[in-house]
Protein backbone atom coordinates (compact mmCIF):
# COMPACT_ATOMS: atom_id res chain seq x y z
CA UNK A 1 0.00 0.00 0.00
CA UNK A 2 1.12 3.52 -0.72
CA UNK A 3 1.81 5.81 2.19
CA UNK A 4 0.05 9.14 2.59
CA UNK A 5 3.12 10.90 1.17
CA UNK A 6 2.15 12.84 -1.91
CA UNK A 7 -1.56 12.32 -1.34
CA UNK A 8 -3.46 15.58 -1.40
CA UNK A 9 -7.11 16.09 -0.47
CA UNK A 10 -9.51 16.93 -3.28
CA UNK A 11 -7.25 15.80 -6.12
CA UNK A 12 -9.68 13.21 -7.37
CA UNK A 13 -12.62 15.64 -7.40
CA UNK A 14 -10.50 18.30 -9.05
CA UNK A 15 -9.49 15.86 -11.79
CA UNK A 16 -13.11 14.72 -12.21
CA UNK A 17 -14.28 18.34 -12.63
CA UNK A 18 -11.49 18.87 -15.13
CA UNK A 19 -12.71 16.03 -17.32
CA UNK A 20 -16.29 17.29 -17.05
CA UNK A 21 -15.07 20.72 -18.20
CA UNK A 22 -13.15 19.10 -21.05
CA UNK A 23 -16.00 17.00 -22.36
CA UNK A 24 -19.17 18.95 -21.45
CA UNK A 25 -19.11 21.22 -24.52
CA UNK A 26 -18.52 18.29 -26.83
CA UNK A 27 -21.27 16.25 -25.19
CA UNK A 28 -23.68 19.19 -25.51
CA UNK A 29 -22.75 19.63 -29.16
CA UNK A 30 -23.11 15.95 -30.02
CA UNK A 31 -26.43 15.57 -28.19
CA UNK A 32 -27.83 18.65 -29.93
CA UNK A 33 -26.93 17.18 -33.28
CA UNK A 34 -29.37 14.34 -32.57
CA UNK A 35 -32.08 16.64 -31.28
CA UNK A 36 -35.13 16.55 -33.49
CA UNK A 37 -36.20 20.01 -32.36
CA UNK A 38 -35.27 22.85 -34.69
CA UNK A 39 -34.88 25.11 -31.68
CA UNK A 40 -31.63 23.61 -30.60
CA UNK A 41 -32.01 24.37 -26.90
CA UNK A 42 -35.13 22.33 -26.31
CA UNK A 43 -34.90 18.58 -26.40
CA UNK A 44 -37.51 17.15 -28.78
CA UNK A 45 -36.37 13.55 -29.07
CA UNK A 46 -33.68 11.60 -30.92
CA UNK A 47 -33.33 11.98 -34.65
CA UNK A 48 -30.80 11.86 -37.43
CA UNK A 49 -32.71 14.29 -39.61
CA UNK A 50 -29.99 16.95 -39.45
CA UNK A 51 -27.48 14.49 -40.79
CA UNK A 52 -29.86 13.63 -43.64
CA UNK A 53 -30.42 17.28 -44.32
CA UNK A 54 -26.71 17.91 -44.19
CA UNK A 55 -25.98 15.36 -46.88
CA UNK A 56 -28.73 16.49 -49.16
CA UNK A 57 -27.55 20.09 -48.98
CA UNK A 58 -24.98 20.75 -51.63
CA UNK A 59 -21.59 22.05 -50.64
CA UNK A 60 -20.72 19.97 -47.65
CA UNK A 61 -19.96 16.86 -49.68
CA UNK A 62 -17.64 18.89 -51.90
CA UNK A 63 -15.98 20.45 -48.86
CA UNK A 64 -15.51 17.06 -47.22
CA UNK A 65 -14.05 15.67 -50.44
CA UNK A 66 -11.63 18.62 -50.68
CA UNK A 67 -10.61 18.09 -47.05
CA UNK A 68 -9.86 14.43 -47.69
CA UNK A 69 -7.88 15.09 -50.87
CA UNK A 70 -5.80 17.76 -49.16
CA UNK A 71 -5.24 15.65 -46.05
CA UNK A 72 -4.27 12.51 -47.98
CA UNK A 73 -1.78 14.25 -50.28
CA UNK A 74 -0.32 16.51 -47.57
CA UNK A 75 0.09 13.56 -45.19
CA UNK A 76 1.74 11.34 -47.78
CA UNK A 77 4.25 13.97 -48.82
CA UNK A 78 4.91 15.11 -45.25
CA UNK A 79 5.53 11.53 -44.06
CA UNK A 80 8.02 10.81 -46.85
CA UNK A 81 9.88 14.07 -46.13
CA UNK A 82 9.79 13.38 -42.40
CA UNK A 83 11.18 9.84 -42.79
CA UNK A 84 14.10 11.10 -44.87
CA UNK A 85 14.83 13.88 -42.37
CA UNK A 86 14.49 11.59 -39.33
CA UNK A 87 16.87 9.02 -40.83
CA UNK A 88 19.49 11.72 -41.18
CA UNK A 89 18.88 13.47 -37.86
CA UNK A 90 18.78 10.30 -35.77
CA UNK A 91 21.23 8.04 -37.58
CA UNK A 92 23.83 10.31 -39.19
CA UNK A 93 26.20 11.43 -36.47
CA UNK A 94 27.99 13.73 -36.55
CA UNK A 95 25.99 15.91 -38.90
CA UNK A 96 26.86 19.60 -39.05
CA UNK A 97 23.37 20.67 -40.10
CA UNK A 98 21.50 18.75 -37.40
CA UNK A 99 20.67 21.66 -35.11
CA UNK A 100 19.49 24.07 -37.77
CA UNK A 101 17.54 21.37 -39.64
CA UNK A 102 15.67 20.40 -36.48
CA UNK A 103 14.93 24.07 -35.80
CA UNK A 104 13.64 24.52 -39.35
CA UNK A 105 11.37 21.49 -39.10
CA UNK A 106 9.99 22.70 -35.74
CA UNK A 107 9.40 26.24 -37.04
CA UNK A 108 5.80 25.68 -38.12
CA UNK A 109 4.99 24.60 -34.53
CA UNK A 110 6.21 27.89 -33.10
CA UNK A 111 4.81 30.48 -35.50
CA UNK A 112 1.22 31.43 -34.54
CA UNK A 113 -1.25 30.01 -37.04
CA UNK A 114 -2.69 33.40 -37.93
CA UNK A 115 0.77 34.67 -38.88
CA UNK A 116 1.44 31.60 -41.02
CA UNK A 117 -1.98 32.12 -42.57
CA UNK A 118 -1.50 35.72 -43.67
CA UNK A 119 2.14 35.19 -44.68
CA UNK A 120 1.10 32.28 -46.88
CA UNK A 121 -1.76 34.30 -48.31
CA UNK A 122 0.56 37.16 -49.32
CA UNK A 123 3.08 34.67 -50.70
CA UNK A 124 0.54 33.02 -52.98
CA UNK A 125 -0.98 36.31 -54.13
CA UNK A 126 2.46 37.67 -55.00
CA UNK A 127 3.63 34.37 -56.54
CA UNK A 128 0.59 34.40 -58.79
CA UNK A 129 1.06 38.03 -59.80
CA UNK A 130 4.79 37.64 -60.36
CA UNK A 131 5.19 34.24 -62.03
CA UNK A 132 1.64 33.00 -62.49
CA UNK A 133 2.13 30.39 -59.78
CA UNK A 134 -1.33 29.16 -58.77
CA UNK A 135 -2.30 25.55 -58.24
CA UNK A 136 -5.77 26.20 -56.81
CA UNK A 137 -6.31 23.47 -54.26
CA UNK A 138 -2.63 22.64 -54.71
CA UNK A 139 -1.82 25.86 -52.87
CA UNK A 140 -3.72 24.54 -49.86
CA UNK A 141 -1.89 21.21 -50.11
CA UNK A 142 1.49 22.96 -50.16
CA UNK A 143 0.61 25.06 -47.10
CA UNK A 144 -0.60 21.95 -45.29
CA UNK A 145 2.56 19.96 -46.07
CA UNK A 146 4.61 22.64 -44.30
CA UNK A 147 2.80 22.33 -40.97
CA UNK A 148 2.24 18.58 -41.31
CA UNK A 149 5.99 17.83 -41.53
CA UNK A 150 6.77 18.46 -37.85
CA UNK A 151 3.77 16.41 -36.72
CA UNK A 152 4.83 13.51 -38.95
CA UNK A 153 8.44 13.97 -37.90
CA UNK A 154 8.03 13.77 -34.12
CA UNK A 155 6.71 10.22 -33.73
CA UNK A 156 8.93 8.91 -36.52
CA UNK A 157 11.99 10.40 -34.90
CA UNK A 158 10.94 9.04 -31.51
CA UNK A 159 10.49 5.54 -32.90
CA UNK A 160 13.79 5.68 -34.74
CA UNK A 161 15.63 6.84 -31.61
CA UNK A 162 14.20 3.90 -29.70
CA UNK A 163 15.22 1.51 -32.46
CA UNK A 164 18.50 -0.33 -31.95
CA UNK A 165 20.92 1.08 -34.53
CA UNK A 166 22.70 -2.26 -34.83
CA UNK A 167 19.60 -3.62 -36.62
CA UNK A 168 20.67 -1.85 -39.79
CA UNK A 169 24.27 -2.94 -39.29
CA UNK A 170 23.12 -6.52 -38.87
CA UNK A 171 21.23 -6.27 -42.15
CA UNK A 172 24.25 -4.80 -43.93
CA UNK A 173 26.41 -7.51 -42.38
CA UNK A 174 24.01 -10.08 -43.85
CA UNK A 175 24.60 -8.81 -47.38
CA UNK A 176 21.77 -6.27 -47.62
CA UNK A 177 22.48 -3.15 -49.68
CA UNK A 178 21.67 0.18 -47.98
CA UNK A 179 18.31 0.26 -49.75
CA UNK A 180 17.50 -3.37 -48.85
CA UNK A 181 18.44 -2.69 -45.21
CA UNK A 182 16.00 0.23 -45.19
CA UNK A 183 13.25 -1.62 -47.05
CA UNK A 184 13.37 -4.94 -45.15
CA UNK A 185 14.56 -3.90 -41.69
CA UNK A 186 14.33 -0.19 -40.88
CA UNK A 187 10.98 0.58 -42.47
CA UNK A 188 9.05 -2.38 -40.99
CA UNK A 189 10.41 -1.62 -37.51
CA UNK A 190 9.68 2.08 -38.03
CA UNK A 191 6.10 1.41 -39.16
CA UNK A 192 4.29 2.22 -35.90
CA UNK A 193 6.03 5.59 -35.86
CA UNK A 194 5.13 6.16 -39.50
CA UNK A 195 1.48 5.29 -38.85
CA UNK A 196 1.41 7.54 -35.79
CA UNK A 197 2.99 10.39 -37.73
CA UNK A 198 0.56 9.90 -40.59
CA UNK A 199 -2.41 9.94 -38.18
CA UNK A 200 -1.25 13.17 -36.58
CA UNK A 201 -0.60 14.84 -39.93
CA UNK A 202 -3.94 13.71 -41.20
CA UNK A 203 -5.83 15.04 -38.17
CA UNK A 204 -3.92 18.32 -38.22
CA UNK A 205 -4.60 18.80 -41.92
CA UNK A 206 -8.23 17.81 -41.59
CA UNK A 207 -8.73 20.23 -38.70
CA UNK A 208 -6.86 23.22 -40.01
CA UNK A 209 -9.09 26.22 -40.30
CA UNK A 210 -7.26 29.55 -40.19
CA UNK A 211 -4.59 28.90 -42.81
CA UNK A 212 -7.02 27.22 -45.18
CA UNK A 213 -9.61 29.95 -44.64
CA UNK A 214 -7.06 32.56 -45.71
CA UNK A 215 -5.84 30.90 -48.89
CA UNK A 216 -8.92 29.01 -50.05
CA UNK A 217 -11.01 30.46 -52.83
CA UNK A 218 -14.26 29.42 -54.42
CA UNK A 219 -14.22 25.69 -55.15
CA UNK A 220 -11.41 24.96 -52.71
CA UNK A 221 -13.47 25.11 -49.52
CA UNK A 222 -12.58 22.49 -46.92
CA UNK A 223 -14.83 21.12 -44.18
CA UNK A 224 -13.71 23.44 -41.35
CA UNK A 225 -13.97 26.46 -43.65
CA UNK A 226 -17.44 25.34 -44.62
CA UNK A 227 -18.44 24.86 -41.00
CA UNK A 228 -17.11 28.31 -40.14
CA UNK A 229 -19.28 29.88 -42.81
CA UNK A 230 -22.26 27.92 -41.46
CA UNK A 231 -21.58 29.22 -37.94
CA UNK A 232 -21.29 32.74 -39.33
CA UNK A 233 -24.70 32.33 -40.92
CA UNK A 234 -26.26 31.39 -37.62
CA UNK A 235 -26.40 28.42 -35.32
CA UNK A 236 -28.34 25.63 -36.95
CA UNK A 237 -28.67 21.95 -36.07
CA UNK A 238 -26.81 21.12 -39.28
CA UNK A 239 -23.68 22.78 -37.87
CA UNK A 240 -23.94 20.48 -34.87
CA UNK A 241 -24.24 17.46 -37.14
CA UNK A 242 -21.28 18.46 -39.29
CA UNK A 243 -19.21 19.17 -36.17
CA UNK A 244 -20.10 15.81 -34.69
CA UNK A 245 -18.85 14.05 -37.81
CA UNK A 246 -15.52 15.85 -37.55
CA UNK A 247 -15.23 15.06 -33.82
CA UNK A 248 -15.87 11.41 -34.58
CA UNK A 249 -13.21 11.38 -37.29
CA UNK A 250 -10.60 12.96 -35.00
CA UNK A 251 -11.46 10.64 -32.14
CA UNK A 252 -11.05 7.53 -34.27
CA UNK A 253 -7.74 8.70 -35.73
CA UNK A 254 -6.31 9.77 -32.39
CA UNK A 255 -7.33 6.49 -30.80
CA UNK A 256 -5.55 4.58 -33.56
CA UNK A 257 -2.52 6.81 -33.04
CA UNK A 258 -2.64 6.17 -29.30
CA UNK A 259 -2.93 2.46 -29.83
CA UNK A 260 0.02 2.09 -32.21
CA UNK A 261 2.31 4.49 -30.36
CA UNK A 262 2.06 2.92 -26.92
CA UNK A 263 5.54 1.95 -25.78
CA UNK A 264 4.79 -1.78 -25.79
CA UNK A 265 3.07 -1.67 -29.19
CA UNK A 266 4.56 -4.01 -31.74
Amino acid sequence: MRSHVGQYPGLRIWAALFFVFLYAPMVVLISYSFNTNKLAMIWGGFSVRWYEKLFTTGGIADAAFNSLVVAVIATTVAVVIAIAAALVLVRQRPFGGAGISTALISMPLIVPEIVTAVATLMFFVIAKAAIGFDFGIGNIVLAHIVFCIPFAFMPIRARLSDMDGTMEQAARDLYATPWQAFRYVTLPILMPGVIAGAMLSFVISLDDFIITQMISGPGTTTLPVYIYSMIRNGITPEVNAASTILIAASTVLVTIYWYVSRPNAK
Binding site: D164, M167, Q169, A170, R172, D173, L174, Y175, I189
Partner: protein
Protein backbone atom coordinates in the same frame (compact mmCIF):
# COMPACT_ATOMS: atom_id res chain seq x y z
CA UNK B 1 49.26 -20.82 -45.93
CA UNK B 2 47.73 -17.37 -46.05
CA UNK B 3 46.25 -16.05 -42.82
CA UNK B 4 42.43 -15.88 -42.73
CA UNK B 5 42.51 -12.26 -41.68
CA UNK B 6 45.44 -9.93 -41.58
CA UNK B 7 45.58 -6.38 -40.27
CA UNK B 8 48.52 -4.38 -41.57
CA UNK B 9 49.40 -1.10 -39.82
CA UNK B 10 45.73 -0.30 -39.29
CA UNK B 11 44.87 3.08 -37.77
CA UNK B 12 41.48 4.50 -36.87
CA UNK B 13 40.98 8.03 -35.62
CA UNK B 14 37.67 9.39 -34.36
CA UNK B 15 37.12 13.08 -34.75
CA UNK B 16 34.42 14.88 -32.83
CA UNK B 17 33.80 18.56 -33.21
CA UNK B 18 35.19 20.40 -30.21
CA UNK B 19 37.27 17.47 -28.97
CA UNK B 20 40.79 16.29 -29.63
CA UNK B 21 40.80 13.41 -32.14
CA UNK B 22 40.86 9.99 -30.47
CA UNK B 23 43.24 7.33 -31.80
CA UNK B 24 41.15 4.20 -31.36
CA UNK B 25 43.69 2.06 -33.24
CA UNK B 26 47.32 3.07 -33.63
CA UNK B 27 49.26 1.18 -36.28
CA UNK B 28 47.89 -2.25 -35.37
CA UNK B 29 49.16 -5.35 -37.15
CA UNK B 30 47.82 -8.86 -36.56
CA UNK B 31 47.57 -12.15 -38.43
CA UNK B 32 44.79 -14.61 -37.67
CA UNK B 33 45.13 -18.14 -39.02
CA UNK B 34 42.47 -20.25 -40.74
CA UNK B 35 40.19 -22.16 -38.35
CA UNK B 36 41.56 -20.31 -35.40
CA UNK B 37 39.55 -19.26 -32.37
CA UNK B 38 41.17 -15.85 -31.93
CA UNK B 39 40.25 -13.49 -29.11
CA UNK B 40 40.70 -9.74 -28.87
CA UNK B 41 40.89 -9.05 -25.15
CA UNK B 42 41.11 -5.73 -23.37
CA UNK B 43 39.32 -3.17 -21.23
CA UNK B 44 36.59 -0.99 -22.75
CA UNK B 45 38.02 1.68 -25.01
CA UNK B 46 41.10 -0.37 -25.88
CA UNK B 47 40.18 -0.55 -29.57
CA UNK B 48 39.12 -4.21 -29.75
CA UNK B 49 35.56 -3.44 -30.87
CA UNK B 50 36.86 -0.86 -33.35
CA UNK B 51 39.10 -3.49 -34.93
CA UNK B 52 36.15 -5.88 -35.15
CA UNK B 53 33.98 -3.19 -36.78
CA UNK B 54 36.72 -2.46 -39.29
CA UNK B 55 36.89 -6.15 -40.22
CA UNK B 56 33.08 -6.26 -40.48
CA UNK B 57 33.02 -3.12 -42.63
CA UNK B 58 30.88 -0.93 -40.35
CA UNK B 59 33.73 1.53 -40.34
CA UNK B 60 36.69 2.21 -42.56
CA UNK B 61 40.30 2.65 -41.37
CA UNK B 62 42.18 5.93 -41.73
CA UNK B 63 45.30 4.03 -42.67
CA UNK B 64 46.57 0.50 -43.29
CA UNK B 65 45.12 -2.60 -44.89
CA UNK B 66 42.75 -5.35 -43.84
CA UNK B 67 43.28 -8.53 -45.79
CA UNK B 68 40.80 -11.39 -46.01
CA UNK B 69 42.61 -14.44 -47.38
CA UNK B 70 45.14 -12.13 -48.96
CA UNK B 71 42.62 -9.74 -50.53
CA UNK B 72 42.35 -6.14 -49.27
CA UNK B 73 38.79 -5.53 -48.07
CA UNK B 74 39.40 -2.43 -45.95
CA UNK B 75 37.13 -0.25 -48.06
CA UNK B 76 34.42 -2.68 -49.09
CA UNK B 77 30.95 -2.11 -47.59
CA UNK B 78 29.76 -4.80 -45.15
CA UNK B 79 27.41 -6.42 -47.69
CA UNK B 80 30.34 -7.13 -49.99
CA UNK B 81 32.39 -9.02 -47.37
CA UNK B 82 32.01 -12.77 -46.71
CA UNK B 83 32.20 -12.03 -42.99
CA UNK B 84 29.32 -12.18 -40.50
CA UNK B 85 28.83 -10.81 -37.04
CA UNK B 86 27.16 -12.00 -33.85
CA UNK B 87 26.18 -8.75 -32.16
CA UNK B 88 26.49 -7.99 -28.49
CA UNK B 89 22.74 -7.56 -28.04
CA UNK B 90 22.04 -9.96 -30.91
CA UNK B 91 20.25 -7.37 -33.12
CA UNK B 92 17.65 -9.96 -34.12
CA UNK B 93 15.02 -8.41 -36.39
CA UNK B 94 11.94 -8.14 -34.15
CA UNK B 95 9.46 -8.16 -37.03
CA UNK B 96 10.67 -11.48 -38.42
CA UNK B 97 10.40 -15.03 -37.12
CA UNK B 98 13.47 -16.96 -36.07
CA UNK B 99 13.53 -18.78 -39.42
CA UNK B 100 13.15 -15.51 -41.35
CA UNK B 101 15.99 -14.02 -39.34
CA UNK B 102 18.26 -16.93 -40.17
CA UNK B 103 17.22 -16.85 -43.84
CA UNK B 104 17.84 -13.11 -44.20
CA UNK B 105 21.48 -13.26 -45.31
CA UNK B 106 20.79 -16.04 -47.80
CA UNK B 107 17.84 -14.11 -49.23
CA UNK B 108 20.01 -11.04 -49.72
CA UNK B 109 22.56 -13.26 -51.47
CA UNK B 110 19.70 -14.42 -53.74
CA UNK B 111 20.26 -18.09 -53.05
CA UNK B 112 17.63 -20.49 -54.47
CA UNK B 113 14.61 -21.04 -52.23
CA UNK B 114 15.35 -24.75 -51.64
CA UNK B 115 18.92 -24.05 -50.62
CA UNK B 116 17.76 -21.35 -48.22
CA UNK B 117 15.37 -23.80 -46.58
CA UNK B 118 18.10 -26.41 -46.14
CA UNK B 119 20.67 -23.95 -44.83
CA UNK B 120 18.20 -22.49 -42.32
CA UNK B 121 17.32 -25.97 -41.03
CA UNK B 122 20.99 -26.91 -40.75
CA UNK B 123 21.94 -23.71 -38.98
CA UNK B 124 19.07 -24.03 -36.50
CA UNK B 125 19.93 -27.71 -35.94
CA UNK B 126 23.52 -26.76 -35.22
CA UNK B 127 22.39 -24.54 -32.34
CA UNK B 128 19.59 -26.96 -31.32
CA UNK B 129 16.83 -24.48 -32.12
CA UNK B 130 15.00 -26.44 -34.87
CA UNK B 131 11.76 -26.34 -32.90
CA UNK B 132 11.70 -22.54 -32.65
CA UNK B 133 11.68 -21.50 -36.32
CA UNK B 134 8.21 -19.99 -36.20
CA UNK B 135 8.74 -18.00 -33.00
CA UNK B 136 9.47 -14.30 -32.77
CA UNK B 137 12.71 -13.19 -31.10
CA UNK B 138 10.69 -11.52 -28.33
CA UNK B 139 9.30 -14.94 -27.36
CA UNK B 140 12.76 -16.37 -26.70
CA UNK B 141 14.97 -16.30 -23.63
CA UNK B 142 18.33 -14.51 -23.74
CA UNK B 143 20.24 -17.74 -24.28
CA UNK B 144 17.91 -18.79 -27.10
CA UNK B 145 18.23 -15.41 -28.78
CA UNK B 146 21.97 -15.83 -28.59
CA UNK B 147 21.74 -19.17 -30.38
CA UNK B 148 19.54 -17.68 -33.08
CA UNK B 149 21.95 -14.80 -33.56
CA UNK B 150 24.69 -17.36 -34.00
CA UNK B 151 22.66 -19.43 -36.46
CA UNK B 152 21.81 -16.31 -38.45
CA UNK B 153 25.47 -15.34 -38.73
CA UNK B 154 26.62 -18.85 -39.64
CA UNK B 155 23.88 -19.66 -42.18
CA UNK B 156 25.53 -17.86 -45.15
CA UNK B 157 28.76 -19.84 -44.43
CA UNK B 158 31.01 -16.82 -43.91
CA UNK B 159 34.77 -17.18 -44.15
CA UNK B 160 35.16 -15.47 -40.79
CA UNK B 161 32.72 -15.10 -37.91
CA UNK B 162 33.01 -12.01 -35.72
CA UNK B 163 31.62 -12.23 -32.20
CA UNK B 164 31.22 -8.93 -30.32
CA UNK B 165 30.99 -9.79 -26.62
CA UNK B 166 28.13 -12.18 -27.43
CA UNK B 167 27.97 -13.65 -23.93
CA UNK B 168 27.99 -10.42 -21.95
CA UNK B 169 24.19 -10.12 -21.79
CA UNK B 170 23.75 -13.61 -20.30
CA UNK B 171 23.78 -14.53 -16.63
CA UNK B 172 26.80 -16.30 -15.14
CA UNK B 173 25.66 -19.94 -15.33
CA UNK B 174 24.42 -19.62 -18.90
CA UNK B 175 27.56 -17.77 -19.88
CA UNK B 176 29.71 -20.63 -18.67
CA UNK B 177 27.61 -23.19 -20.54
CA UNK B 178 27.72 -21.11 -23.72
CA UNK B 179 31.52 -20.99 -23.63
CA UNK B 180 31.70 -24.73 -24.15
CA UNK B 181 28.94 -24.49 -26.72
CA UNK B 182 30.75 -21.84 -28.76
CA UNK B 183 33.95 -23.86 -28.65
CA UNK B 184 32.04 -26.90 -29.94
CA UNK B 185 30.42 -24.83 -32.72
CA UNK B 186 33.78 -23.51 -33.82
CA UNK B 187 35.18 -27.05 -34.01
CA UNK B 188 32.16 -28.37 -35.91
CA UNK B 189 31.91 -25.54 -38.43
CA UNK B 190 35.62 -25.07 -38.93
CA UNK B 191 35.10 -21.34 -39.38
CA UNK B 192 37.66 -18.80 -38.19
CA UNK B 193 36.27 -17.05 -35.09
CA UNK B 194 37.31 -13.60 -34.00
CA UNK B 195 35.93 -13.09 -30.55
CA UNK B 196 35.90 -9.78 -28.68
CA UNK B 197 35.65 -9.74 -24.90
CA UNK B 198 36.78 -7.88 -21.82
CA UNK B 199 36.40 -11.03 -19.72
CA UNK B 200 39.82 -12.66 -19.27
CA UNK B 201 38.34 -15.93 -18.05
CA UNK B 202 36.27 -16.20 -21.23
CA UNK B 203 39.36 -15.50 -23.30
CA UNK B 204 41.53 -18.02 -21.47
CA UNK B 205 39.00 -20.87 -21.62
CA UNK B 206 37.97 -20.59 -25.27
CA UNK B 207 40.77 -19.18 -27.36
CA UNK B 208 43.47 -20.77 -29.44
CA UNK B 209 45.29 -17.47 -29.30
CA UNK B 210 44.64 -14.16 -27.57
CA UNK B 211 45.62 -10.61 -28.50
CA UNK B 212 45.65 -8.39 -25.43
CA UNK B 213 44.89 -4.80 -26.39
CA UNK B 214 45.15 -1.50 -24.61
CA UNK B 215 44.97 2.13 -25.70
CA UNK B 216 44.77 1.32 -29.40
CA UNK B 217 47.80 -0.98 -29.34
CA UNK B 218 48.26 -4.76 -29.30
CA UNK B 219 50.24 -5.49 -26.14
CA UNK B 220 50.82 -9.19 -26.58
CA UNK B 221 49.67 -12.01 -28.84
CA UNK B 222 49.95 -15.61 -27.74
CA UNK B 223 48.35 -18.80 -26.53
CA UNK B 224 46.44 -18.55 -23.25
CA UNK B 225 49.20 -20.28 -21.29
CA UNK B 226 51.86 -17.90 -22.60
CA UNK B 227 49.70 -14.85 -21.90
CA UNK B 228 49.01 -15.96 -18.34
CA UNK B 229 52.42 -17.36 -17.42
CA UNK B 230 54.67 -15.01 -19.37
CA UNK B 231 53.08 -11.58 -19.57
CA UNK B 232 55.42 -9.27 -21.45
CA UNK B 233 54.55 -6.11 -19.58
CA UNK B 234 52.85 -4.73 -16.56
CA UNK B 235 49.58 -4.07 -18.37
CA UNK B 236 49.15 -7.68 -19.48
CA UNK B 237 50.19 -9.04 -16.10
CA UNK B 238 47.73 -6.73 -14.38
CA UNK B 239 44.83 -7.25 -16.76
CA UNK B 240 45.06 -11.06 -16.89
CA UNK B 241 44.61 -12.50 -13.42
CA UNK B 242 45.98 -10.86 -10.27
CA UNK B 243 49.61 -9.89 -9.80
CA UNK B 244 51.88 -8.45 -7.18
CA UNK B 245 54.17 -5.88 -8.74
CA UNK B 246 57.50 -5.67 -6.99
CA UNK B 247 60.27 -3.19 -7.75
CA UNK B 248 63.84 -4.17 -7.02
CA UNK B 249 67.43 -4.23 -8.15
CA UNK B 250 69.47 -7.06 -9.72
CA UNK B 251 72.11 -8.15 -7.21
CA UNK B 252 73.55 -11.11 -9.11
CA UNK B 253 73.25 -12.78 -12.52
CA UNK B 254 74.37 -16.28 -13.42
CA UNK B 255 73.59 -18.77 -16.18
CA UNK B 256 70.50 -17.03 -17.46
CA UNK B 257 69.20 -16.49 -13.95
CA UNK B 258 69.12 -13.38 -11.81
CA UNK B 259 68.70 -12.65 -8.15
CA UNK B 260 66.58 -9.62 -7.43
CA UNK B 261 66.30 -7.83 -4.13
CA UNK B 262 62.84 -6.39 -3.53
CA UNK B 263 63.17 -5.77 0.23
CA UNK B 264 66.06 -5.93 2.72
CA UNK B 265 65.57 -9.60 3.52
CA UNK B 266 63.57 -10.56 0.40
CA UNK B 267 65.44 -11.95 -2.62
CA UNK B 268 63.65 -13.47 -5.60
CA UNK B 269 65.25 -15.68 -8.23
CA UNK B 270 64.03 -15.32 -11.78
CA UNK B 271 65.13 -15.79 -15.39
CA UNK B 272 67.41 -12.93 -16.36
CA UNK B 273 66.07 -11.90 -19.78
CA UNK B 274 69.10 -9.73 -20.42
CA UNK B 275 69.21 -7.94 -17.09
CA UNK B 276 72.59 -6.88 -15.74
CA UNK B 277 73.80 -6.42 -12.20
CA UNK B 278 72.59 -3.17 -10.65
CA UNK B 279 69.59 -2.74 -13.00
CA UNK B 280 66.35 -1.46 -11.52
CA UNK B 281 63.64 -3.92 -12.56
CA UNK B 282 59.97 -4.77 -12.01
CA UNK B 283 58.63 -8.21 -11.22
CA UNK B 284 55.15 -9.66 -11.57
CA UNK B 285 54.31 -12.34 -9.06
CA UNK B 286 50.95 -14.16 -9.04
CA UNK B 287 49.39 -14.43 -5.56
CA UNK B 288 48.87 -18.19 -5.94
CA UNK B 289 52.59 -18.69 -6.59
CA UNK B 290 53.48 -17.51 -3.11
CA UNK B 291 53.19 -19.85 -0.15
CA UNK B 292 53.10 -18.92 3.50
CA UNK B 293 55.12 -20.89 6.09
CA UNK B 294 56.29 -20.70 9.67
CA UNK B 295 58.40 -17.57 10.23
CA UNK B 296 61.66 -19.49 10.33
CA UNK B 297 65.06 -17.94 9.97
CA UNK B 298 66.29 -17.49 6.39
CA UNK B 299 62.81 -16.73 4.99
CA UNK B 300 61.52 -13.21 4.40
CA UNK B 301 59.08 -12.70 7.25
CA UNK B 302 56.04 -10.58 7.83
CA UNK B 303 52.65 -10.16 9.48
CA UNK B 304 49.20 -11.10 8.10
CA UNK B 305 47.29 -7.81 7.98
CA UNK B 306 44.12 -9.06 6.34
CA UNK B 307 42.63 -12.44 5.52
CA UNK B 308 39.70 -12.61 3.09
CA UNK B 309 37.88 -15.91 2.96
CA UNK B 310 36.65 -16.75 -0.57
CA UNK B 311 35.39 -20.32 -0.27
CA UNK B 312 37.99 -22.75 -1.53
CA UNK B 313 40.85 -20.38 -0.80
CA UNK B 314 41.85 -17.43 1.34
CA UNK B 315 43.54 -14.25 0.18
CA UNK B 316 46.03 -12.77 2.62
CA UNK B 317 47.59 -9.33 2.65
CA UNK B 318 51.00 -9.81 4.16
CA UNK B 319 53.16 -6.91 5.26
CA UNK B 320 56.77 -8.00 4.93
CA UNK B 321 59.27 -6.62 7.42
CA UNK B 322 60.98 -3.68 5.76
CA UNK B 323 57.82 -2.21 4.33
CA UNK B 324 56.45 -3.88 1.17
CA UNK B 325 53.12 -5.70 1.05
CA UNK B 326 52.21 -8.74 -1.02
CA UNK B 327 48.95 -10.50 -1.74
CA UNK B 328 48.99 -14.27 -1.28
CA UNK B 329 46.31 -16.78 -2.26
CA UNK B 330 46.33 -20.20 -0.63
CA UNK B 331 43.97 -23.14 -0.76
CA UNK B 332 42.19 -23.79 2.48
CA UNK B 333 42.52 -26.95 4.54
CA UNK B 334 40.29 -29.93 3.82
CA UNK B 335 37.91 -28.84 6.54
CA UNK B 336 37.70 -25.46 4.83
CA UNK B 337 39.63 -23.54 7.47
CA UNK B 338 42.07 -20.78 6.58
CA UNK B 339 45.59 -21.69 7.60
CA UNK B 340 46.49 -18.31 9.01
CA UNK B 341 44.73 -15.49 10.83
CA UNK B 342 45.16 -11.73 11.00
CA UNK B 343 48.14 -10.88 13.18
CA UNK B 344 50.01 -14.15 12.61
CA UNK B 345 53.69 -13.86 11.87
CA UNK B 346 54.54 -15.79 8.72
CA UNK B 347 57.41 -16.67 6.45
CA UNK B 348 57.04 -16.07 2.69
CA UNK B 349 58.21 -18.69 0.17
CA UNK B 350 58.68 -17.81 -3.52
CA UNK B 351 59.94 -20.63 -5.75
CA UNK B 352 62.64 -19.82 -8.27
CA UNK B 353 61.07 -18.92 -11.63
CA UNK B 354 57.67 -18.07 -10.10
CA UNK B 355 58.12 -14.36 -10.70
CA UNK B 356 58.26 -12.78 -14.13
CA UNK B 357 60.61 -9.99 -15.11
CA UNK B 358 58.66 -7.26 -16.89
CA UNK B 359 59.79 -5.29 -19.88
CA UNK B 360 59.69 -1.53 -19.64
Amino acid sequence: MKPAVEAKSVSKIYETAGHAPVKALDNVSLAIAENEFFTLLGPSGCGKTTLLRLIAGFEFPNGGHILLQGQDIAHLPPDKRPVNTVFQHYALFPHMTVAQNVAFGLRMLKRPQAEIGDSVRQALALVKMEAYGARRPSQLSGGQQQRVAFARAIAPHPKVLLLDEPLSALDLKLRQAMRLELKRLQRETGITFIFVTHDQEEALTMSDRIAVMSAGHVQQVGEPLAIYESPVNRFVADFIGDSNFLDGAVVKTAKGGALIKVAPNFLIETSAAGAAKGDKVSLALRPEKITLAQPVKGLPRGVVREAVYIGNSTTYMVEIDGGIGVTVRESNSLSGQSHFAVGDRVGVVVEAGAARLLAG
